[in-house]
Amino acid sequence: MNLFRSEEDARAWDEFNSDMEWTLQPVQWWAETFSNAMFRSRGRPDFISWVTGEEGGAAMLELRGRLTP
């Protein structure tokens, strides 16, 4: 889960795997992905209750949807 200076650099990385090509996205796309409630909620005083509850489950479902190619 790395950052590269350009798409060309990522593709030239010796560990580049074309099976995971869909993850090659602008940093803005990843920033939006990591804006999911799962990440925004880590500062909550009840985070574990939240993440194991209904709202956390919904956030995870949304996240998985975005991360499904």
Binding site: L3, F4, S6, E7, D9, R42, G43, M60
Partner: protein, 160 residues
Amino acid sequence: MTSDDIAISLEDLDVTYAAIMAETVEMGVSPHYAEVSTALDVSPAVAKARISRIMDLTPGWLHPGTDLIASFPPFNNQPTQYRVSVDGEQKWFAQCGFEALAIRWLFPGQTVRIDAPCLLGGDPISIEMRDEEILSVTPETTVGYTHSPVGGDAANRPFR
């Protein structure tokens, strides 16, 4: 008594998680279970058992073969190439390039800067963010990529 014999409620885990996160945000490193024990006024065995359970429920992990917190996302205790500065002070490391983008949510209203070398040649990448805003991305062509599966079923930990 083993850690499996220690009764742990969700409320216990909430308090413990919040204490570790607060310490990590403030100090740049996650505490040892003995420090958590003191902070929460519980026995070391209880603190250790709670941390172990938290690691089961989150994408964090202990260093293999130890009771030391290695990763407490979005942060990493073990230094990574993702150095994070907040309002000009660098003392945090991100778990990975993607989690680095989530650190801003723990510093509301503050400017979070990520500095990292590109894995292809080591040339610099920097990103500045504040709350909802991406203030700068250098170079503008910066991308994210992973060859590790994300979003899959592996222990329900999409970012591990």
